[in-house]
């Protein structure tokens, strides 16, 4: 008998409407495998909600509440408060938003929910742009990326604003637990959600999930590219427990960013100098992370 480290229970039915190679259904399945059937999810507008199907069809086996774009954290907080006063125990409340729904329009409600230390898991499903509305730039779009609102004309026009360092905002804001997870590392993904679920207070999970049309990638390379994000260090896997950083996936020798970027159509236009700048920036941010790990463990 092979030894399975990933639970075999499934809480997402077949027949959802995600694109081939989409990271989101994997993220939903892994999260629910870790959390189990007494989990309620709330979603704003975005693929996370849409792919579960159109009424009366519904692909999840746990309750779901839909909410407006900017209030995922507030609604999750409300569900938890309602459970508290109606006596619902042993339930996990998960607010699940995209990157734009978190770092742009949802940041106010999220920050105040962290202030209140509401007992929820907040998931930011990061595919690095507003993918559901048609690949528009968000605060999580990396430098150099093409999107429909950062179109490319010759040697200019791609996104020039840096990806918002949301974990660096959430940690001093006061989250009790934060982690980065990647759909290319399912065991680590599930381990982090298991760790988070029974800690009281606001937990922040930053999930990297590729979007095949948004990243202009071959669906069959989706996981390979997601894995490269971690192997290059542009999306390192780490956790923060009460302010203490630790790497959850050690990368002994980081691969060059070019390997990650060249597989994605959204970066195809970049000239050599731009690749070099991106590499330098990733190196700097990775060094900052290692310093945070060192500094917070002394």
């Amino acid at each position: 008998m092979p030894k399975f480290t990933i639970p075999t229970e499934e809480y997402m039915r077949k027949g959802h409407s995600a694109c081939p190679g989409c990271g989101t259904p994997l993220a939903l399945r892994y999260a629910l495998k870790a959390l189990g059937p007494r989990t309620i999810l709330n979603f704003p507008a975005g693929c996370g909600g849409v792919i579960q199907g159109v009424w009366p069809f519904f692909a999840l086996k746990v309750p779901v509440v839909d909410n407006a774009f900017e209030c995922t954290a507030a609604v999750a907080n409300g569900i938890r408060a309602g459970f508290d006063v109606t006596g619902m125990k042993d339930a996990y409340v998960v607010g699940w938003s995209g990157d734009g729904g978190t770092v742009d329009i949802g940041i106010q409600a999220l920050s105040a929910t962290v202030d209140r230390n509401a007992d929820i898991i907040y998931v930011m499903l990061d595919n690095e742009a507003y993918m559901n509305t048609g690949i528009q730039r968000s605060g999580c779009t990396p430098i150099g990326a093409w999107t429909t609102t950062t179109p490319v004309a010759g040697d200019k026009g791609w996104n020039t604003t840096p990806k918002k360092r949301i974990m660096d905002m959430m940690v001093p804001n006061g989250i009790v637990y934060g982690a980065t997870v990647n759909v290319a590392y399912p065991e680590d993904f599930i381990a982090r959600f298991r760790e988070a679920k029974d800690i009281k207070g606001t937990k922040f999970m930053h999930v990297l999930a590729p979007c095949t049309p948004g990243w202009r990638i071959d669906p069959k390379q989706s996981i390979e590219i997601a894995r490269l994000a971690t192997q290059t260090g542009t999306f390192p896997l780490y956790k923060v427990e009460r302010g203490k950083y630790s790497l959850t996936k050690e990368i002994k020798k980081r691969k060059p960013m070019e390997e990650y970027l060249k597989l994605q159509g959204r970066f195809r236009h970049l000239p050599m100098e731009a690749l070099q700048e991106i590499q330098e920036q990733v190196d700097a941010e990775y060094a900052m992370l290692l310093k945070k790990v060192k500094d917070t463990n002394e």
Binding site: Q52, W55, V65, C71
Partner: protein, 395 residues
């Protein structure tokens, strides 16, 4: 027990007596003393649920919608810009069929900044699907909130309600209020028991995507249940009267109208002034009537149609103005009263905006103006703004 309190304190007491499960609020003048009073009650252990301080009105309403899905009774309060910030979530509460009850200390919309009372904030939310109940005084504010829970949470309705008290005029003015006991309120208002709520044994999705094929079917249920609320509002008002000895006529109240020569239709605290002036003018043989719009939504159009046979001249007093058209209540009343070949004489009086005093003398002027039009048999102008310094605002 008779106590002396502001409408804001009356609203806070109503939330306490209703045993609200989750309260979320954000400060804004002139609502703030509701949230302050609730905080004071919370720290003294007098509330029955959780009181959560949020960072915006948008989050207040969002949080309550989430809480309501679990079967918790919910309450918030706001004014003016706070209500406008909630606008998106007002639609959400309706579409999600969450019977949130909210007190509004109504206030002007800036700029220029103005913290004082008028109805522009609540008038602007007519199309959201909320039930909207105006209050004439502080007692009515308390009573309306208690009745609103019964109406909103009824399974034939399941729509949210606003109880509207005029900013400062009621929110900050002390009046005698008969405060019912907890036992009396418990006897009137059973716990919230929705047909649908979050259930892990029967996992469902609330508010997901609906295609054009089914969208109208969801909307028409809201329209039907909003209509259902008319019957419920009248029923609950009658039951409230049996239990507490006070009635507000359901959706509308006709005062001194039976043999009136002219009538004035209005809502909110100015109703009290109008009733007082009507009584005084009747002593002098001037037969003027008052029609109080208690419920703006649902709107008592059928009830208003009766006025066609009662009086030939009808005025409307508006505490708000819809630019490019006219006073909002005026257009509502005109539409509601329309019968083919009716031919009523009607005029709109706009006043009391942004806290400007609308005095008994102003009210008497309005009634005299209506009596003059009745005598002359014609309307001199459609709209008249009252008390504008340079006399403009007449067309």
């Amino acid at each position: 027990m008779i106590d002396v309190m502001t409408a804001n304190y009356a609203a806070a007491h109503a939330a306490r007596l209703a045993r609200v499960g989750v309260i979320a609020a954000y400060p804004i003048t002139p609502q703030s003393s509701i949230s302050e009073k609730l905080a004071e009650m919370d720290v003294k252990g007098e509330l029955h649920g959780k009181y959560i301080l949020v960072e915006s009105e948008h989050s207040a309403m969002s949080l309550l919608i989430g809480a309501s899905y679990t079967g918790a009774r919910t309450f918030t309060a706001t004014s003016s810009h706070g209500l406008a910030l909630m606008h998106e979530m007002l639609f959400w509460a309706v579409g999600a069929r969450r019977p949130v009850v909210m007190a509004i200390a109504s206030r002007a919309m800036g700029p220029p900044w103005n913290i004082w009372g008028d109805h522009m904030d609540v008038i602007s939310e007519r199309d959201t699907g909320w039930l909207q109940f105006f209050c004439e005084n502080n007692q009515e504010t308390l009573d309306t909130i208690l009745m609103a829970y019964r109406i909103s949470e009824d399974r034939s309705v399941m729509l949210p309600s606003m109880a509207i008290e005029d900013g400062f005029i009621l929110s900050h003015t002390y009046e005698a209020v008969d405060l019912p006991s907890q036992d009396e309120v418990d006897d009137f208002l059973p716990p919230f028991n929705p047909e649908w709520k979050v259930d892990f044994d029967d996992p469902r999705r609330f508010g997901g995507m609906t295609m054009p094929e089914w969208w109208s079917e969801f909307r028409v249920r809201i329209a039907i249940d909003n209509e259902n609320s008319r019957k419920k509002i009248v029923e609950v008002d009658k039951e409230f009267e049996r239990k507490f000895g006070r009635s507000y006529g359901g959706l509308i109240e006709f005062y001194n109208c039976d043999d009136a020569d002219v009538a004035l239709v209005l809502a909110g605290s100015a109703v009290g002034t109008a009733k007082h002036i009507s009584d005084k003018m009747r002593e002098k043989g001037k037969k003027v009537g008052v029609v109080k719009i208690k419920s703006l939504r649902p709107f008592p159009a059928d009830e208003l149609k009766k006025l066609n046979d009662m009086v030939p001249v009808v005025g409307v007093f508006d505490r708000s103005y819809t630019f490019g058209y006219g006073g909002a209540l005026f257009s509502e009343v005109k539409n509601g009263m329309y019968v083919p070949g009716g031919g009523l004489l009607m005029k709109d009086y706009v006043g009391g905006l942004g806290g400007k005093d609308f005095t008994p003398k102003n009210m008497e002027f309005v009634f005299e103006d209506l009596l003059r039009m009745r005598k002359e048999g014609k309307v001199d102008r459609m709209v008249e703004w009252i008390n504008i310094k340079d006399g403009t605002g007449r067309w």
